[in-house]
């Protein structure tokens, strides 16, 4: 295979991997603090993207057509509103079920995902149809042989990387991060140390959902199309990525995200059968990986409490 083509596939794969990693980070954060799975995560991402899209339309309507201002507006609204939505979900759906069986939390958030998805489909104007998401980034491109690199792809990749680094710094280098890690390690002790448990949970859910909103806008800018169903698959992929990486571990989530993207790209390019089988291949490998390492590649170091 010629190098240009290989480079093209690698850039495509990196792009997917970045989006998956961003979604997976959310799953892993929630699991870290509360040992729950918030399955509506993918749909929160979708709602965030629609919020951003509406902002773009709104800014256009009041006559602001500078792409940079629009981009900032889209990001601020999408991220801000989803942070709030994430906290609301935690407050009214996840925390009340804290002592219920974990299956119930999983189900309640699965159902919430359906509610969000259907609500956009039914109540967003013309919501059942795909929407054209604007290109707000410069579209200059560099071509080397068969390799084509666009400025917007580079910006998206760098943006995604910055967000991941930002989350990492926040978790490992700040007082808030320390509190989140404390709650993740031992809720009771953290409370004794004067940490406001509920507040930390809400902030963590806000943080994870904000990252998802960023991933959603990134997805919209990359594909230039958004639809009400986009969150479902992204959510499942993000979840699988977090699981193969090992729940509760941010590096695991990032690793898992890139592994999944690599599997998809590999499935599309290198395998003998049609490229349409790439998702079948990726999910089959995920199931096999889970069977092999039931708690993920970077496993939680806990023994079971009885």
């Amino acid at each position: 295979m010629d190098m240009g083509l290989l480079g093209q596939f690698i850039v495509n794969g990196m792009m997917l991997g970045m989006m998956y990693a961003l979604v997976a980070v959310g799953f892993t954060l929630f699991f870290g603090v509360l040992d729950v799975i918030k399955f509506s995560h993918g749909d929160v991402l979708m709602v965030g993207t629609f919020a951003g899209f509406s902002t773009y339309l709104g800014l256009g309507a009041i006559g602001i057509d500078n792409a940079f201002v629009q981009l900032i507006g889209v990001l601020v609204v999408a991220i801000g509103s989803m942070a709030i939505l994430g906290a609301i979900i935690a407050r009214y759906l996840v925390l009340p079920l804290k002592s219920a069986p974990p299956l119930n939390t999983l189900l309640v958030t699965l159902m919430l995902g359906t509610v969000l998805r259907e609500a956009i489909r039914l109540f967003y104007p013309d919501g059942s149809n795909p929407k054209r998401f604007p290109s707000l980034l410069p579209t200059d491109s560099w071509t080397i042989g068969s390799f084509n690199l666009r400025a917007d792809s580079v910006i998206l990749l760098v943006g995604g990387l910055l967000v991941i680094v930002g989350v990492h710094v926040l978790i490992n280098r700040t007082r808030l991060g320390m509190a989140i890690r404390a709650v993740a390690q031992d809720e009771e002790t953290a409370k004794c140390m004067g940490i406001n448990f509920k507040m930390i949970v809400l902030l963590t859910f806000g943080l994870g959902s904000a990252v998802a909103a960023f991933a959603g806008v990134m997805n919209g800018l990359y594909y230039n199309e958004i639809n009400f169903g986009m969150g479902l698959l992204l959510g499942v992929i993000g979840f699988s990525a977090a699981i193969i990486g090992g729940l509760g571990n941010i590096y695991g989530a990032i690793l898992g995200g890139f592994i999944f993207a690599a599997l998809q790209t590999l499935g599309a390019v290198a395998l003998p059968f049609a490229s349409a089988y790439k998702d079948v291949f990726a999910f089959a490998v995920v199931i096999a990986l889970i069977a092999w390492r039931p708690t993920g590649l970077i496993a939680e170091k806990t023994s079971e409490r009885v």
């Binding site: 596939f9 997917l16 084509n148 594909y223 230039n224 390019v269």
Partner: protein, 389 residues
């Protein structure tokens, strides 16, 4: 007093409607007819246009004092998904009060549903689905079609594109019967016209990311990328071609000839070509009449490419019921004998398989955000050029 008014008002309306209702019932019996099309989802614009057109036919008939019956239109949404389509087809066919049906834009749905219409003896006419097998792969006398098939469309498309000077193609098609049909017939006629197919990719109808397929296509550097499928996928592929810097000409089929394709692709739509059976509306015999009535009825959505066909199909069914009465078997027989029947899309004649013969195929190109008939476009007179020429 307030309470009294509240209770009397509905009572009064009830009395009035009852009186009116019986009055109408005395004059005319109500007969139900049905319409099926994709009213939600990626191709809903075409579906809604068809629904409006069928509704227009019913409205005009009900306004006609000479009509023997009062018609009621039942509409159902197939969502362009075969399983949903089969469910609602069963629902409509199982309802004995429905006498005739105008149905299907999506070929994949129609293929699943024709067996059901036959099982329940429901006479129907297709208004937009173009797969030949819908009428030709069975001997069901209930199934008819007023629009043409994709065979002629691809014959003309292959000849047209090779005449422009294009040599090499990459084909991307969805893997429903619809996309596969386009692939089959286009490949056949393209090879006959001397074009070369470098590769073909079958993709599921809800795929999001085409970078893998398109990167492979890019390496082959074809003159044209032919896409056999419907609008939503077409939009994604066109947009991602640009992402990867592919300069090839984009050629679509009748499935992307809708305004939503232009809305979805924006500036990238410029110069995209597509083919549609039937002459353009303004050149049709009754096109003027149909356009005027459609506007007068106050529909907010466009009638889209297949509106006139839906209108004609519904009129045909209504004509039949007027003639032979509200009876499924009699209507089937009536439709079987249709020859040179006047309609806004020209004379309708059904062959043994219930297929209308529509000879004319019109090439279209997108120019300045509008579908323009090729002959009238700046591309035809050389002012603008298609990609790669």
């Amino acid at each position: 007093m307030g309470i009294l008014r509240k209770t009397t008002a509905p009572l009064l309306t009830l009395a009035i409607t009852a009186a009116l209702g019986t009055g109408v019932a005395n004059a005319k019996d109500t007969v139900k007819v049905a319409f099926i099309g994709p009213l939600t989802g990626g191709v809903s614009a075409v579906g809604v246009g068809g629904r409006n057109s069928a509704e227009l036919a019913v409205q005009l008939r009900n306004a006609d004092p000479n009509a023997k019956y009062e018609y009621e239109l039942v509409t159902q949404d197939s969502e362009c998904k075969p399983n949903v389509g089969v469910q609602i087809a069963t629902k409509i066919a199982a309802d004995r009060s429905i006498i005739g049906l105008v149905g299907h834009y999506c070929s994949a749905v129609a293929m699943g549903a024709v067996d059901i219409y036959h099982r329940f003896n429901l006479p129907m006419s297709v208004w937009g689905a173009v797969l030949p097998e819908i009428t030709y792969a069975n001997d069901y006398k209930e199934i008819h079609r007023v629009n043409g098939t994709m065979i002629n469309q691809n014959e003309v498309a292959a000849k047209f594109m090779t005449d422009q000077g294009y040599k090499t193609w990459v084909i991307i098609h969805d893997t429903t019967d619809y996309g596969k049909g386009h692939n089959k017939y286009f490949s056949e006629y393209l090879t006959a016209n001397g074009g070369e197919i470098l590769a073909d990719f079958g993709v599921p109808a809800d795929q999001q990311d085409f970078t893998a397929e398109l990167t492979k296509a890019k390496q082959l550097n074809p003159d044209v990328i032919y896409f056999g499928g419907l609008t939503p996928l077409g939009v994604r592929i066109r947009a991602q071609m640009d992402k990867l810097g592919i300069e090839s000409q984009f050629q679509g089929v009748s499935g992307i000839k809708s305004d939503s394709f232009i809305d979805g692709t924006g500036e990238l739509a410029e110069g995209v070509v597509s083919f549609l059976e039937g002459a353009p509306l303004e050149k049709l015999p009754g096109g003027q009449y149909f356009s005027e009535k459609y506007k007068a009825a106050g529909f907010t959505e466009s009638e889209e490419a297949y509106g006139p066909f839906a209108f004609s199909a519904m009129n045909l069914i209504l004509d039949g019921i007027e003639e032979v009465g509200p009876n499924r078997k009699a209507l089937t027989e009536y439709l079987g004998n249709i020859q040179d029947h006047d309609s806004v899309v020209g004379k309708i004649s059904f062959d043994d398989h219930g297929q209308n013969t529509v000879a004319a195929i019109t090439p279209y190109v997108i120019q300045d955000g509008k579908w323009v008939v090729w002959e009238d476009s700046e591309y035809a007179d050389g002012t603008r050029k298609l990609s790669g020429l």
